[in-house]
């Protein structure tokens, strides 16, 4: 079961708990949550902005028999989502495929927790903006894989203008 966090207000969507108030029963996988759903606490970030903080998008293995393997491209690299080939599964697979395409259009916000262990995320303590080394920042001109230490020291947070010094390692905050 994976957990996803709102990068603005730190609200966490936990697949195993779901979010009853919003109508998502426990064990509702992230991929079936509507794309236009926004953070129930702050509403200024939506599903596509959420960051995977625990588990992986590939953890939703409903059954091993008769599975449909979808190369979803939800994450920045090759996480495969396996979903049982029931009617529901097929629907999900379709969702994932379209979402994959959609996500490719703009930076995917989900990081790879399987092979990219060396990539880190950094959070701006002033505004919560997250710099993810795996994704880089296209707008700022940092290719995917650009290490935080390789970013110029005079670089400022693209959201609030805080200095590079104002960033802290994101993983630390979760512990």
């Amino acid at each position: 079961m994976a957990r996803y966090q709102c990068p603005d207000c730190q609200y966490v969507y936990d697949e195993s708990k779901g979010e009853e108030h919003e109508g998502f029963a426990p064990n509702t996988p992230w991929i079936v949550i509507p794309e236009d759903w926004c953070c129930p606490d702050c509403a200024v970030r939506d599903k596509l902005d959420f960051v995977l903080i625990e588990g992986s998008t590939g953890e939703k293995n409903i059954s091993s028999n008769n599975t449909l393997s979808v190369s979803a491209k939800v994450s920045s690299s090759d996480v495969n989502t396996e979903i049982s080939n029931t009617t529901m599964g097929a629907e999900i697979a379709l969702d994932v495929a379209t979402e994959g395409q959609h996500l490719n259009g703009h930076k995917p916000r989900v990081t790879n927790s399987q092979s990219g262990a060396a990539f880190l995320k950094w959070i701006c303590i002033t505004c919560g903006h997250i710099y993810d080394e795996a994704l880089g920042d296209e707008v700022e001109g940092f290719a995917p894989g650009t290490r935080f230490e390789d970013i110029p020291n005079d670089w400022c947070c693209p959201d609030c203008g805080a200095t590079k010094e104002d960033y802290v390692l994101y993983q630390e905050k979760l512990g």
Partner: protein
Amino acid sequence: MNGKNSVLDSAPEYVDKKKYFWILSTFWPATPMIGIWLANETGWGIFYGLVLAVWYGVLPLLDAMFGEDFNNPPEEVVEKLEKERYYRVLTYLTVPMHYAALIVSAWWVGTQSMSWFEIGALALSLGIVNGLALNTGHELGHKKEAFDRWMAKIVLAVVGYGHFFIEHNKGHHRDVATPMDPATSRMGENIYKFSTREIPGAFRRAWGLEEQRLSRRGQSVWSFDNEILQPMVITVVLYTLLLAFFGPKMLVFLPIQMAFGWWQLTSANYIEHYGLLREKMADGRYEHQKPHHSWNSNHIVSNLVLFHLQRHSDHHAHPTRSYQSLRDFPGLPALPTGYPGAFLMAMIPQWFRSVMDPKVVNWANGDLSKIQIEDSMRAEYIKKFTHNVGADDKRGATAVAS
């Protein structure tokens, strides 16, 4: 990053100079009762309009006199500041203040002999402070705890605007500064026209959002879990009781105070994002809600009676931040005065436009395509603001530099 720790260790104790002044926000809703007391003591009915005079007259003057406060709490203390119960308790205490103001005023109108002029003045006074029940509900409704959210619904019920809790948090914040938002005004749109788009539009959006949420839960929109209906029930019960106790005068008094309360919200929505527009990105989504998508005001006196609502830029960028931690940023689009003065200006469209339109154009660096413009005004604006682009640009550049 080691440097950070040493800074933390050696940081001098931060003192929030505004800490005890926030009590003003808690007591301001009691002002109509002071007006009643003064009217009773002196026999001058004019005091029923005390709030009107203070809100539209005295506060703008005080804002001009005391000016702006640009101080921000240092980031290291924000976590502690957010956790301090004191600040939260002040917002809770404000809730019974609004109820007291409503009930005492209704009791006075129902039991004393007052002229219709006096009743009208008191209704408008009460409307202003109970319009600010929306402000109290706003601060509470953004919090994550269930208790705070219930307090928000309870206080919003005072003025019969319970759907604000859904509409504002999940609708307005999501869509702000885009054409989808009925609560963002367009440049050139006057407040009266705006209100006919904003008031019904806001209700429709809230209802739609709640319908969507409940259907996901497999419930009907007419369920008691509907968070629009919950406060509405409180309002109906409350107003029915007032009518039963204080008689038919309530049929006039209550609608006037309620309408004027709603008008305060309309005024706030009107000035908070006037003309501003978020840019659409290549993938069709709008850019995130950033501080420069709201008009900010650092005017100290009006901020102190409004729980910092006027630090609206930071609020919209980070809606769950508490009022005591809201920050100013350099280079924000700024209102020339606090909300009370700006509300007054808004009611005189010519005045408001003459002050704000150049500021909006300046904000967009003269690029009219980056502004939300009222369709019927577009031609006029193109003529006005592209005609002497050189002069405007220069003025804009110096304004930004200073």
